[in-house]
C-alpha cells in the first residue's frame, strides 16, 4: 500500500473541499482498500465520508425511491419500503458479494466499483484503465468473464455491480453535490463506456460527491425482479444477469424496463427488448421474440462467446419469471 493521509469529513461541505484538493472519498472501503492493497489504487489522501448524513432511504412523493449514497447494502436490502416498491433492488443486493461485504459497502460505492478484470487488478499487467496507452491485456488474453457489449479496443472489462443493473433498468438518477453545487444525471449517462478514454469511468467532476440515487416513480402495479446467472451459488459475479420491471394492465404490457449485467462495460440497457414488449400481450412467444433482441450489437471475444446466447436465455427466463403470471 502506498502511503496516504486520512481525514474524516464532518460535513458535506468539508468533504467536497477536501475532494476538490484531490482527496479520494472512502465509505465502506470494500473496493478501495482492497485495490490499495494491490496498489491498483494509490490515493495520496483519503477523505472518510462515512459519518455524513447521507444514509436515508425514503419513498419520494409520487412513488419513487430515494436511496442515500451512504446507506449500507444490507440495510437497503432489508428496508421494507425498498422491498415493497422495488423488490428487484433488494434482490440484486442480496445476490451481491457476501454478507460481510454487504454489511460494510455503501450504495454510492457500489455504483462506483472499478471494473471486473484480472488484468486490471494485477499491476504487473498492461491495462488501459490503470495506465492509459499501456494496452489491454484482456483483448487477446483470457476473457471469459469480459464484456460483449459496449467494448472498445481499449477495454473490454465488465462493470461488476448487480445493483447498478437494476438502477439502469429503472432509469435511476444519480444526485451529486460538488464545488459548483448540485447536479443530477441519469445513471445511463453517469457510468461511461470505455471508448477512447477507459480511465474515465464516471461522469464525475473533481470534488463531486454522490449523495443519493433516485428511482423515478413507475406506473403501478409494477412487477420487478433480478436474475443472476453465475458459476457459484454465492459470492460470485454474474456471468449474465437481467433486471426486469413490467407494468401490465388489461393484459397488455404498457411499460417495460430491462437491463443486463455481466455482459456490458456498463450495465446494459436493452431498449430493443423493451420496445418489442410494449403494447403486446405476455406470452412465451413474446418473451422469446423479445429476448432475441437482447444481444444486438454483441461483439464476443475468444472465451466469452457463450454469453451472447446465455444473455438471450437469461432475458427470456426473467421475462417469464416477472411477466409470466398474467
Amino acid at each position: 500500500m502506498f502511503p496516504f493521509t486520512y481525514t474524516r469529513a464532518t460535513s458535506v461541505h468539508e468533504a467536497i473541499e477536501a475532494g476538490e484538493r484531490g482527496g479520494r472519498y472512502i465509505a465502506g472501503g470494500t473496493t478501495l482498500v482492497d485495490l490499495m492493497r494491490e496498489t491498483v489504487e494509490r490515493p495520496r489522501a483519503l477523505v472518510d465520508i462515512v459519518g455524513l448524513p447521507l444514509s436515508d432511504v425514503s419513498a419520494t412523493p409520487r412513488g419513487g425511491l430515494r436511496i442515500g449514497a451512504l446507506a449500507r447494502m444490507a440495510d437497503v436490502a432489508a428496508d421494507p419500503v425498498v422491498r415493497q416498491t422495488y423488490p428487484a433492488v433488494a434482490q440484486a443486493l442480496e445476490l451481491s458479494a457476501s454478507a460481510q461485504l454487504r454489511n460494510m459497502a455503501t450504495i454510492g460505492g457500489n455504483v462506483m466499483q472499478r471494473p471486473r478484470c484480472a488484468y486490471f487488478r494485477d499491476v504487473s499487467a498492461p491495462c488501459n484503465r490503470r495506465e492509459p496507452g499501456s494496452g489491454c491485456s484482456a483483448l487477446e488474453g483470457y476473457n471469459r468473464t469480459h464484456a460483449i457489449l459496449g467494448t472498445s479496443e481499449h477495454c473490454v472489462a465488465t462493470h461488476p455491480s448487480d445493483l447498478a443493473v437494476v438502477l439502469t433498468a429503472l432509469e435511476a438518477t444519480v444526485h451529486m453535490v460538488g464545488p459548483e453545487g448540485r447536479r443530477a444525471t441519469p445513471i445511463g449517462q453517469f457510468l461511461l463506456q470505455p471508448g477512447d478514454t477507459p480511465d474515465r469511468e464516471q461522469d464525475l467532476r473533481p470534488g463531486e460527491l454522490i449523495v443519493a440515487l433516485e428511482i423515478p416513480p413507475l406506473p403501478r402495479p409494477l412487477r420487478s425482479g433480478y436474475l443472476k446467472v453465475r458459476d457459484r451459488e454465492s459470492y460470485e459475479f454474474a456471468l449474465t444477469s437481467v433486471a426486469v420491471a413490467l407494468h401490465i394492465r388489461g393484459g397488455v404490457i404498457h411499460t417495460a424496463k430491462v437491463a443486463a449485467g455481466g455482459v456490458g462495460t456498463i450495465p446494459w440497457k436493452l431498449p430493443a427488448v423493451e420496445q418489442h414488449l410494449v403494447g403486446r400481450r405476455p406470452s412465451p412467444d413474446l418473451w422469446a421474440q423479445a429476448a432475441e433482441r437482447a444481444a444486438d450489437g454483441a461483439r464476443p471475444l475468444v472465451h466469452n462467446g457463450f454469453k451472447t446466447e446465455l444473455l438471450r436465455r437469461t432475458v427470456e427466463r426473467q421475462l417469464r419469471i416477472v411477466g409470466g403470471r398474467s
Partner: protein, 746 residues
C-alpha cells in the same frame, strides 16, 4: 476376507475410541487462542521480530537483467533487500534423507541465480521492521527481465519418457473386444487454498536455527533447512502446533522458508514471512492438470477385457512431481491393462500432492469411462461395477485385507434411493431443472510408516503423549488422545496429546491418510507399554490391593486399576505413584510396518450425487451427496464426518468450480485470489452425508484403521459428472464442468 478380531493383548475396554468427540482444541481455535505459525512472537520469547515480503517475478520464463532496490531501501524502516545479486551462495546440499518427500530434480533455490522459471517465482525479499514498510518497499523494487515465451501447453509440449505399467496384452484384447470405447478427459489445475496462508518465523541463535513453520511434517523444514544451510539436522528445530488446513501443500518445504531463514541469518534478527493470498498460487504447489486418454474394451455383458490409459500430467522443468495413478490397476478385474504416464515439463512451479493425490485424478477418468460404458451397454452403473469386482488384487494377485466395496454399493443404493434414478438420461424434469443421479467408486492405499511416541504419566494421574506429527485439520490432537485414553484406561480430559515439534519422537509426514495407522499405532503401543509398567509396579507392590494378581488380569478404567474379576479391588494411578514415591512413569514406543506386505490394502469409497441442471442457463447445482466409505475402524465419527464432508466438498469444487487459469503468454495466474478462484461456498454444498461401513482391518494397522482423509475425495468429481450426464444426456469430459459446456440448443 472375513475380519479377524483385533489382537488386543491389553484387553482394555474401548471407551473413547469410536465415540463422536469434539475437538479438544476447538475452543482454542474458535477463540483465537490457538497460535498458528504467523502468530508467534514475543509471547514465545521471539523478540525483535522483523517482517519479510517476497518480490515475485512478473514473467513466465527468462532471466533477470537488473534489480534496482534504491527506492525500496529508501522507505523508512526497511532493513534490506536480498536478491541473487547480493545473496550469499548457500551450500544447498542434497536433501536425500531416506524419508525425503522431495521429488527428483534440482530444487528451486532462493536467490542463487538470475533464472526465472515460472511466473511469481520469488526474485527478492524485502525486510523491514514493520510489515507495511516491507510490503510497500517490495512494490518499489524494480526488476527488469529478458523474457522468453514460456511453455505452458500440457497437450503440445514435449513430454518425458513415459512410465509404463502393463499386464496382459491390452492392445490385442482391445482390438478384439466386442465393445470398444475411446474418450479423452481433461482435468484443470487445482490449488489447495487452505485457510491459513503459508507462514514462517525463523530465528538463529548462533549456528542453530529455530523455525515456527506451517507444515504437515516438522521433520521436513528441519531436514531441508539443514541441507540448504549446510548445518547438522540437530541444529534446526521446527515447531508447528497448529495448521489451518493444508491439503498437501505443506508437506515439503518451499523456497519462501529458505528466504525467511536466509534473511534472518543475514540480519541476525528473527524474521517473519507470511505469503499473501495471491502468492499462495505461485510457489507452494498445486494439483497438476491432466489429459487422460481412456480406451475400454468389454464383453457385451460388461466384463472389462482391456483398459488402456494414456496420461499426460504437468510437472515443472526443474523437478519431476508424479502423482500415484494406480487406481486403474486395482479397482476392476481387468486381465489386460496398459497405462502410459507422461510427465510434461512446463514453465510452472513444481506441483505437489493435493487431497486424494493421483487417485482422485484417475477416478475421474476411470469412473466416468465406466459410466459411459454402462450407458453404452444399457447396464446399471453399479451392476457393471459389481460384474467387474475382482476376487484378488488384479495388479499383485494378493488377497485383499478387507474390501467392502460391494457393501458400500448396496448401502449407498439403499440410503440414496438409487432405484429412483432413471436409466435414461434427461428423463426427469422439475420445472426448469433437469434432475439426475450419478455414482462413482474410489480407493486409496491403506499405508503406514514407522512412528514413535513418548508417554508420561504424572503423579496427578494425567498423561502427556508426544509425537512429532502434525494436525492440519483432521483432529489428530483429539483422536490420538482417544487412543491414548483407552490404552491407559483414562478419561479423555486427563490425557493430552502434543505434536508439532521436531524434537519429539519422530512421526511420518502428516499426509496420505496414514497418520492414524502410523502414529495412532505408535501411541497405542506406547500407552500399552506405559500401562503395563504401572500394572507391573502395582502387582509387584505388596502394599497394593493388586499385589500378586497376574498382570494380564488387571484392567484400567477411568484411572482405576483393578482386577477383571472384581472391579472393587484396585487403586488409582495417583495412589500407586504416591505410595512408591514416583513423580512419574514414562514409556517410549513405536510402530514399524511389517516388512513383508502380504495383503492388498485399500480404503474404498462409493459416492452418490444428485444434481439439478438448468439446461437452458447451464447452471449445475448439487442437491445432495452421499459417501459410503470402507475405511476400517472409525476412531471418532464426528471428526470422520468433518473429514468426509470436507473431502466431498473438495470433490464438488473439482467437478464444477475449481480451475487455476493461466495466461499462456506469460504464465500469469489470472484467478490468484478467493474471489476469482472458485471454491464451493456453503450455499453450493447443502445436503452431504457420510456412512462408514462397520469393520476393522487388522492387516492394515494394529489399530484397525485404513485411513479416511484421502479416500473421501476419490470418486466425488466423477459421481457429479455422471449425475450431470444422467440429468442432461450431455457428457462433459473436461473438469470443471462450466455453464458454457452445458448450454444446450433449445
Amino acid at each position: 476376507m472375513t475380519p479377524q478380531p483385533a489382537p488386543r493383548p491389553a484387553r482394555q475396554p474401548q471407551a473413547a475410541v469410536g465415540t463422536p468427540r469434539s475437538r479438544v482444541d476447538g475452543r482454542l481455535k474458535v477463540t483465537g487462542q490457538a497460535r498458528f505459525a504467523a502468530d508467534h512472537g514475543p509471547a514465545d520469547g521471539i523478540d525483535g521480530i522483523v517482517h519479510a515480503v517476497l518480490v515475485d517475478a512478473t514473467i513466465g520464463r527468462g532471466r533477470i537483467t537488473s534489480i534496482e532496490a534504491r527506492a525500496a531501501l529508501a522507505v523508512p524502516d526497511v532493513l534490506t533487500v536480498i536478491h541473487h545479486g547480493n545473496a550469499p551462495r548457500l551450500p544447498y546440499r542434497d536433501n536425500s534423507f531416506p524419508d525425503s518427500i522431495h521429488p527428483p530434480g534440482e530444487r528451486l533455490r532462493a536467490f542463487q541465480d538470475n533464472h526465472v522459471r515460472f511466473f511469481g517465482q520469488p526474485v527478492a525479499v524485502v525486510v523491514a521492521t514493520t510489515l507495511e514498510a516491507a510490503r510497500h518497499a517490495a512494490r518499489l523494487v524494480e526488476v527488469t527481465y529478458d523474457a522468453e515465451p514460456p511453455q505452458l501447453d500440457l497437450v503440445t509440449a514435449p513430454a518425458h519418457e513415459p512410465d509404463i505399467y502393463t499386464r496382459g496384452d491390452a492392445a490385442a484384447a482391445l482390438a478384439s473386444a466386442p465393445v470398444q470405447l475411446e474418450m479423452t478427459y481433461r482435468m484443470g489445475r487445482n490449488h489447495h487454498n487452505a485457510m491459513e496462508p503459508h507462514a514462517i518465523v525463523a530465528r538463529w541463535d548462533g549456528d542453530r536455527l529455530t523455525v515456527w513453520e506451517k507444515t504437515q511434517w516438522v521433520a521436513d523444514p528441519r531436514n531441508e533447512l539443514a541441507a540448504v544451510f549446510g548445518i547438522p539436522q540437530a541444529a534446526v528445530r521446527c515447531y508447528s502446533r497448529f495448521v489451518g488446513g493444508a491439503f498437501g501443500n505443506s508437506g515439503r518445504t518451499w523456497v519462501h522458508s529458505v528466504a525467511a531463514a536466509l534473511a534472518a541469518r543475514e540480519l541476525r534478527r528473527p524474521v517473519k514471512l507470511v505469503l499473501s493470498r495471491r502468492q499462495l498460487y505461485f510457489g507452494i504447489g498445486f494439483r497438476p492438470a491432466y489429459e487422460y486418454g481412456v480406451r475400454l474394451g468389454s464383453e457385451r455383458d460388461g466384463r472389462l477385457t482391456a483398459v488402456v490409459h494414456d496420461v499426460r500430467g504437468e510437472t515443472s522443468r526443474y523437478e519431476r512431481h508424479s502423482d500415484d495413478l494406480a487406481l486403474g490397476r486395482m479397482l476392476y478385474d481387468t486381465p489386460n491393462f496398459r497405462q502410459d504416464v507422461r510427465l510434461v515439463p512446463l514453465d510452472v512451479n513444481t506441483p505437489t500432492w493435493m487431497r486424494g493425490p493421483g487417485w482422485s485424478t484417475t477416478a475421474t477418468a476411470l469412473e466416468t469411462s465406466l459410466d459411459e460404458l454402462a450407458h453404452e451397454l444399457g447396464i446399471d452403473p453399479i451392476e457393471l461395477r459389481i460384474r467387474n469386482e475382482p476376487a484378488d488384487d488384479p495388479a499383485t494377485g494378493q488377497p485383499f485385507s478387507t474390501r467392502r466395496l460391494h457393501e458400500c454399493y448396496t448401502t449407498g443404493m439403499r440410503e440414496f434411493g438409487w432405484h429412483r434414478r432413471s436409466s435414461r438420461p434427461r428423463a426427469v424434469r422439475e420445472g426448469d431443472w433437469l434432475i439426475g443421479m450419478g455414482m462413482a467408486a474410489g480407493a486409496y492405499p491403506a499405508e503406514s510408516a514407522p512412528a514413535q511416541a513418548h508417554a508420561r504419566l504424572g503423579a496427578d494421574g494425567t498423561v502427556v503423549v508426544r509425537s512429532a506429527s502434525s494436525d492440519m485439520g483432521p483432529g489428530t490432537t483429539t483422536s490420538m488422545a482417544q487412543v491414548a485414553a483407552d490404552a491407559l484406561g483414562l478419561p479423555m480430559w486427563s490425557v493430552q496429546f502434543q505434536l508439532g515439534d521436531s524434537m519429539m519422537p519422530p512421526a511420518p509426514v502428516h499426509a496420505l491418510a496414514w497418520t492414524m495407522a502410523s502414529v495412532g499405532s505408535a501411541v497405542q503401543a506406547t500407552c500399552d507399554r506405559l500401562r503395563r509398567k504401572a500394572v507391573a509396579l502395582a502387582v509387584g507392590d505388596d502394599r497394593s490391593p493388586l499385589h500378586g494378581v497376574p498382570a494380564d488380569e488387571v484392567v484400567v478404567r477411568r484411572g482405576w486399576l483393578h482386577t477383571r474379576a472384581d472391579p472393587r479391588r484396585g487403586e488409582t494411578y495417583q495412589q500407586l505413584l504416591a505410595r512408591n514415591g514416583r513423580t512419574h512413569l514414562e514409556a517410549v514406543g513405536g510402530y514399524e510396518p511389517p516388512e513383508e506386505i502380504r495383503y492388498s490394502m485399500y480404503a474404498y469409497s462409493a459416492i452418490f450425487a444428485e444434481v439439478a441442471v438448468d439446461a437452458r442457463l447451464g447452471i449445475v447445482r448439487v442437491r445432495r451427496m452421499l459417501g459410503v466409505f470402507d475405511a476400517g475402524r472409525i476412531v471418532n465419527p464426528k471428526l470422520a464426518d468433518s473429514q468426509a464432508h470436507g473431502g466431498m466438498i473438495g470433490g464438488l469444487g473439482q467437478a464444477l468450480l475449481e480451475h487455476t487459469v493461466t495466461d499462456p503468454r506469460d504464465g500469469r495466474i489470472l484467478n490468484a485470489n478467493l474471489a476469482d478462484y472458485l471454491v464451493p461456498t456453503n450455499a453450493d454444498a447443502t445436503d452431504i452425508r457420510a456412512i462408514y461401513i462397520e469393520g476393522v482391518d487388522n492387516e492394515a494397522a494394529p489399530i484397525g484403521v485404513k485411513g479416511l482423509g484421502e479416500v473421501v475425495q476419490v470418486g466425488v468429481a466423477p459421481a457429479i459428472a455422471n449425475a450431470v450426464f444422467n440429468a442432461t444426456g450431455r457428457r462433459v469430459r473436461d473438469l470443471p464442468i462450466t455453464p458454457e459446456a452445458l448450454l444446450m440448443p433449445r
